[in-house]
Amino acid sequence: MHLPLAFNAELFIQLLVNGITLGSLYALIALGYSMVYGILKLLNFAHGDVYMIGAFTGYGVLTLLGGPLSPSIAIAPLIVLMFLAAMVAAGLLGVVIERFAYRPLRESPRIAPLISALGVSFFLQNSALLLFGAQFRSYDSFVLGSKNPEFFEPGPLTDALFVVKNVNVQLIQVIVLSTTVALMVALTALIAKTAIGKAMRATSYDREAAAMMGIDTDRVIATTFFIGSVLAGAAGVMFGLLFSQVFHFMGFLAGLKGFTAAVVGGIGSIPGAMLGGLLVGLAESMAGGYLGGRWSDLTVFGILILVLLVRPSGLLGTRAIHKV
């Protein structure tokens, strides 16, 4: 087969590795969309901005504990702390958003919560702009934990963990991937095994019937927002660690791509979100590598539109039957 570019296996594998890492991040964001949509049939446009706030929280913890150049505690607990803080903050934010912007609108025409969600998204973005300014903040994960940061000696996160030929895999990529897998497993177990998980499934099938069966649906919905937002918060810190830059507008595009992942995989389906995330991540990485960065976003959007037109319920979704 003749390719316009000479096929380069190393480049391909490198893009694959990057794509999988990026994809797991999108998968985490996708889950939040998917869960909320499954339970409320609401497109939570503000979800990407919750992720952004998570990233800023991680940055805040990093700064409070001495900053990337001279952290006051060891790097492993530092990163754990960043994750925990971001997840809690994002989770609480999600609950607050649900309580104040969506819950009063449960019985309103369907367009009302969507517009409210747009408003929340816009509010959060610009609040971040007001509070943190327009400049990019950097996690500086490149030198985080490095022995000689002033000489730009790579820290343990980005120093290549192993290099095969020219493909290099960084510790941070391994951390991102394993954290994602762990969170997914935990979530699957939570939904399949626990009482609140069963309540969530019941509520998403039929909210009214669930309420009549004695399920406190308000609490279930709040919990869903909390869990979804926690995952987004984790994704925010991952983004900061991977790309070292955090800014007020980052949630918009990431949110769009997370949503794409959710839809491509089949909204409401957890394995679907994972699959969709990987596909979107790979598509973005490959398009960026082979077509140039300016085409990567358009490729992702193109995939979404194609999937929606060919299979509106997504790859792993099921088509719902409505009784007339």
């Binding site: 367009i111 007001l130 085409w295 959007f301």
Partner: protein, 481 residues
């Protein structure tokens, strides 16, 4: 502000149970506006608007006519187009602003120095309108299969793709970038009436006003026609509409195309008035603004769009960075008092809150100064006549970097808390909240009016949806699921 919690829920027909809400809908200032809207016939409203709007250039200077007059009219047009798609047909189109951009860029390509093509408006405008309508039709194609929310996301992607295309992709055509990348396209010709170029602000304003009036009349007739009724029917229940002989998919496409055509038309006049276009003119914030206009006025109401556009654009221009901040400040405080007036009855409570806020502020100011003079040493930004008053009342520190951010977060928490508290405690908790709002204005918003403007917009959308989802002039809608 009735939340649904203490109403009877079981055993009572929803409609009967919500009678109190409906009574409230008709009381107060917003209710009054609605009743006036109901009583005054459509032609009288139109005539009033036409006369007042046409007289604007007679007493406004050029700059104001541009900022307040022309921009408001552009927003009216944009709102009217979106209203067809969202208000009449109930289709959530988040790619609308890209159609506006497509119109503007197309006009720019056909009538500017960019490629040296200078087609007269009589040719380029109809061409662009038709092309945009066709693009709208294409954008609407997924609506045949996708339900509301999916449609929203696909159209949002389309909007985003447009910005990326114009800004970054910028393919090379005939030796230069088609869309000019981040620089956009400059030196766009003014609109012309069969050769007579409209170069002064007055001429442009009257030209756009004429278009607005024509579109208003046309849409009014259309909404009272079989097509308008069919749109509303499909918004209510697409399946029933289909079963009642309405070709739902074709009707959706018609709505998309008409809305797009109006957006394209607006793009033409907008590009000509601005004489330059860049992608930033067609990004998400503008989309939010148009939605705010349609939603504020009341989805589906033509008068509502006009009112919404006036309210939004005037406050928008007040908050513009170029505008003296004192005007924005007056508006800000006025709106707070107005909001309190709307939500507080009996009125003596309002008096208590206002007096309390003043007293609270003076006390807080004295206290802060006693702790350290630096807490009150900050300067009032563009205080004008009020500088002295403000600096004696509002805590504006000098040097304490985190204070402004802390006050902002505290304000958000306070507002959220107020919505949860009832009775006397709400009245009491309003006092520090209002004062905090003043502090945030003087320490943060006044420094970054552009950001403040968008924050207030976002908050407005949420507030409006939770309090009055039908907008100022819309009818409350009932959905029985």
């Amino acid at each position: 502000m009735a939340t649904g919690e203490d109403k009877p829920r079981v055993g009572v027909d929803d409609w009967v149970a919500s009678v109190q809400d409906r009574r409230e809908q008709r009381s107060g200032l917003a209710g009054l506006a609605r009743r006036v809207d109901d009583v005054v016939p459509a032609w009288a409203r139109l005539a009033l608007f036409a006369v007042v709007a046409a007289s604007l250039p007679l007493w406004m200077d050029r700059g104001d006519l541009f900022a307040y007059g022309i921009f408001t009219l552009v927003y009216v047009l944009l709102g009217l187009g979106l209203n067809v798609v969202v208000g009449y047909a109930g289709l959530l189109d988040l790619g609308y602003v890209a159609l506006f951009g497509f119109g503007a860029y197309s006009y720019a390509l056909l009538s500017s120095e960019h490629y040296g093509i200078h087609w007269p408006s009589a040719v380029s405008i109809p061409l662009v309108v038709v092309a945009t309508a066709l693009l709208g039709l294409l954008l609407g194609l997924p609506s045949r299969r996708l339900l509301g929310d999916y449609l929203a996301i696909v159209t949002l992607f389309f909007g985003q793709a447009f910005v990326v295309f114009v800004n970054a992709a910028n393919p090379t055509v005939r030796g230069k970038g088609l869309t000019g990348g981040p620089n956009g396209i400059a030196d766009i010709d003014p609109n012309d009436l069969f050769g007579y170029e409209l170069t002064t602000r007055r001429q442009q304003y009257w030209f756009i006003l004429a278009i607005v009036l024509l579109v208003l009349v046309g849409l009014h007739f259309l909404s009272e026609s079989r097509t308008g009724r069919a749109w509303r029917a499909l918004r209510e229940d697409p399946l029933a509409a289909e079963a009642m002989s309405m070709p739902v998919n074709r009707l959706k496409l018609k709505a998309f195309a008409l809305g797009a055509g109006i957006a394209g038309l607006t793009g033409c006049v907008f590009a000509a008035v601005l004489t330059a276009v860049t992608s930033g003119n067609f990004a998400l914030p503008i989309l939010i603004t148009i939605y705010a206009i349609v939603v504020l006025g009341g989805i589906g109401s033509l008068t509502g769009v006009v009112v919404g556009a006036i309210v939004i654009n005037v406050s928008f221009q007040f908050l513009a960075p170029e505008n003296p901040q004192n005007n924005a400040r007056i508006l800000f405080y006025l709106v707070i008092v107005l909001l309190l007036m709307l939500s507080m009855r009996p009125l003596w409570r309002l008096a208590v809150v206002l007096a309390g806020t003043v007293a609270f502020g003076l006390a807080a100011h004295v206290l802060a100064e006693a702790i350290s003079p630096s807490w009150t040493a900050g300067a009032v930004v563009e205080g004008g006549r009020f500088a002295g008053l403000i600096s004696d009342w509002v805590i504006i520190p000098s040097g304490h970097d985190r204070f402004a951010n802390g006050a902002y977060i505290a304000l958000i928490v306070a507002i959220l808390a107020v919505t949860r508290i009832r009775g006397v405690w709400r009245t009491l908790s309003l006092v520090p909240t209002v004062y905090l709002a003043a502090v945030v204005w003087e320490t943060s918003f006044v420094e970054q009016p552009a950001v403040a403007r968008w924050i207030l917009f976002g908050a407005l959308l949420v507030f409006l949806m939770t309090v009055r989802p039908q907008g100022l002039l819309g009818t409350p809608r009932v959905e029985i699921v």
